[in-house]
């Protein structure tokens, strides 16, 4: 790769034209091919989701016999809601609450840990920096099938099995986020900016807090969002580590509901869960993720350089 342009100074065109008022490139955005591609992928991504939303408004019978993309009825939706919340006396609500608690606490720790770590790796030179990057990569690439047993033994040794911290602490270790922050700070934060602040007498921590952090909104949103989603959707760790179903997060709860749908487990009795109820539970389970997405999206795309914020 010949180009190594991380600075904002354009290497090819030092005499850039006067900046136009808008920051958005005026491309031929309305090309029909581009619209076609974007439209096709819109269908690809959204159609199944639309189906799922509609499925929650149907009876099991309508789900099979009706048009796949038709609306059922409000009564059916209501009946599904009632049946779902009646399952094990409102277990779904307990699971949602658990998920929120675990994901939120872990998110706070993740952000407090991963953002400074990414900054330190990107903007300071210290012994062990490369080792740290490599080790992080190794543990990130390790398949987790076999990590569960060691984790269980470790958490048992410190007496955390049975407590909610047995999932929150492993959740809050989020190497993916550290790398996101690392790449962000290396590619998007000019060192000159930091040096200027140092000359102004800022301490190293002051430079981070006063200069880097305010500019890091996009990556904080990015790490926060992906961290939240990873915690929210984690299945296997809580499934194995948590001892009672009352402590399960909603993702494990969905698995339990799935195992009570006759189509997936023919041996369930009359207390069976119907497929539209499962669809409704799924929608409930993903709504918080989507809300967090919408919230963080405002920061995700904010531009990098001070004042050059786009959107």
């Amino acid at each position: 790769m010949p180009t190594d342009t991380r600075r904002s100074a354009p290497p090819l065109h030092p005499a850039a034209a006067p900046r136009p008022a808008t920051s958005r490139p005026h491309g031929k955005a309305r090309s029909p091919l581009a619209a076609l591609v974007l439209g096709f992928f819109l269908l690809f991504f959204a159609l199944p989701v639309l189906w799922l939303v509609l499925a929650a408004t149907k009876t099991d019978d309508q789900l099979v016999h009706g048009d796949p993309l038709s609306f059922g009825s409000w009564q059916a939706l209501r009946a599904n809601w009632e049946a779902l919340t009646a399952f094990q006396d409102g277990a779904i609500l307990v699971w949602l609450g658990n998920s929120a608690l675990y994901a939120f606490l872990a998110l706070v720790i993740t952000l407090c840990v991963a953002i400074p770590a990414g900054y330190g790796l990107a903007k300071t030179e210290f012994r062990g920096r490369n080792t740290l990057l490599v080790v992080t990569l190794i543990v990130m690439l390790m398949p987790n099938a076999t990590l569960v047993v060691p984790l269980f033994l470790e958490l048992n040794a410190v007496g955390l099995i049975g407590s909610m911290w047995s999932v929150i602490l492993p959740y809050s270790f989020y190497p993916f986020g550290v790398y996101l922050a690392y790449i962000f700070f290396t590619t998007a934060l000019p060192t000159e900016l930091l040096d200027a602040a140092r000359l102004d007498g800022c301490s190293e921590f002051g430079v981070f807090r006063r200069v880097a952090l305010p500019l890091a909104a996009p990556v904080i949103a990015l790490v926060g969002f992906f961290g939240f989603v990873a915690n929210w959707t984690n299945y296997f760790l809580p499934y194995v580590l948590l001892p009672t179903s009352g402590q399960f997060p909603v993702q494990v709860g969905l698995g339990e509901l799935l195992n009570n749908v006759p189509q997936f487990n023919p041996t369930v009795g009359e207390l069976a869960v119907q497929r539209p109820q499962l669809a409704l539970a799924t929608l409930l389970a993903i709504t918080p993720v989507l809300l967090v997405f919408l919230f963080s999206q405002r920061f995700l795309v904010a531009g990098m350089l001070a004042g050059a914020t786009k959107e």
Partner: protein, 291 residues
């Protein structure tokens, strides 16, 4: 100045200290433990490469490795081409609200991880009830069983993985594109570069680290294929996707046969493959260079 440098070194340690604690506790120790498992037997005695041999001699191993290789090629190409392509296209959409809505809609499936989407795929791939039933019938499939035939699985898994995973990466790439100074793009435009040339000469080189990161993770994720076959196996009640990938085999060893050691051996092999690939990409892209 030298004291200043020393202070900066110490500050560097300060920034990463908390992370190092978590890394050791929940990354390094379990990984080290697992690697130790791979070289010991159930009594804890050193076993050399016996666990690796046991894994390799399993009747599913060769087939699973083959499946993973085919899937990996499909998955990597699909992901890189379409994620980068869609991010560039989205970045050129002039209407902010349209671009924002599209990113949101592309992302939604990302929330449907694991068991949440079993139901979706069960219905989507069944021509009798699928909203895309006309498409499946156009390909000549009349029943769910025909759709999930073994030879279709790599394509299906790629579809499922792309459906859930691409939206997140599109957001990352889009955000990365936004960090490129608009002046650069503007300069290229004034220079007479079209959309394609701007992308190739300016945007792609600047996205290099992000793309490399995505490829490293996607490569490792692809070799560790697990969720998609597991999901389809649940949807098809075991007809398709059971024992499909190496990582599933590893789970099987660990939790069905209570043989953590052989499971760990498979994991270590997958780790090595991921690391070799990562090493190649890191070196070739100078990924670790600090600024």
């Amino acid at each position: 100045m030298s004291s200043r440098v020393r202070w900066r070194v110490r500050a560097g340690h300060g920034f990463v200290a908390a992370y190092v604690v978590l890394l050791v506790a929940f990354g390094l120790v379990p990984t080290g433990y697992a690697i130790a498992f791979a070289f010991t037997d159930s009594t804890g005695a050193f076993a050399g490469l016996a666990n690796f041999a046991a894994a390799a001699s399993d009747f599913r191993f060769a087939a699973a490795a083959g499946h993973v290789a085919v899937y990996l090629v499909l998955w990597l190409v699909t992901l890189v081409v379409f994620v980068v392509g869609l991010a560039l296209l989205l970045h050129r959409v002039t209407s902010r609200s349209l671009s924002r809505s599209l990113r949101f809609l592309y992302y939604i499936p990302g929330a449907l991880a694991g068991s949440a989407s079993v139901l979706v795929w069960l219905f989507l791939l069944d021509p009798a009830v699928s909203p895309a039933g006309f498409l499946l019938r156009a390909f000549g499939f009349d029943t769910f069983g025909q759709v999930v035939a073994p030879e279709h699985l790599p394509v299906l898994f790629t579809l499922i993985a792309f459906w859930t995973g691409a939206g997140g990466w599109i957001v990352v790439m889009y955000g990365a594109l936004n960090t490129i100074s608009p002046d650069l793009i503007e300069a290229a435009r004034i220079d007479g570069a079209g959309a394609w040339q701007t992308a190739r000469r300016v945007q792609l080189p600047l996205l290099r680290k992000w793309i490399v990161y995505m490829v490293i993770l996607a490569f490792a994720g692809g070799t560790q294929l697990f969720v998609e076959p597991q999901l389809l196996s649940q949807a098809s009640v075991g007809v398709a996707g059971r024992d499909y990938s190496l990582n599933q085999l590893s789970y099987d060893f660990a939790f069905r046969n209570d043989n953590v050691n052989t499971a760990a051996a498979v994991s270590v092999e997958l780790l090595l493959v991921g690391l070799v690939a990562a090493g190649v990409f890191v070196v070739r892209s100078r990924f670790f260079d600090a600024d």
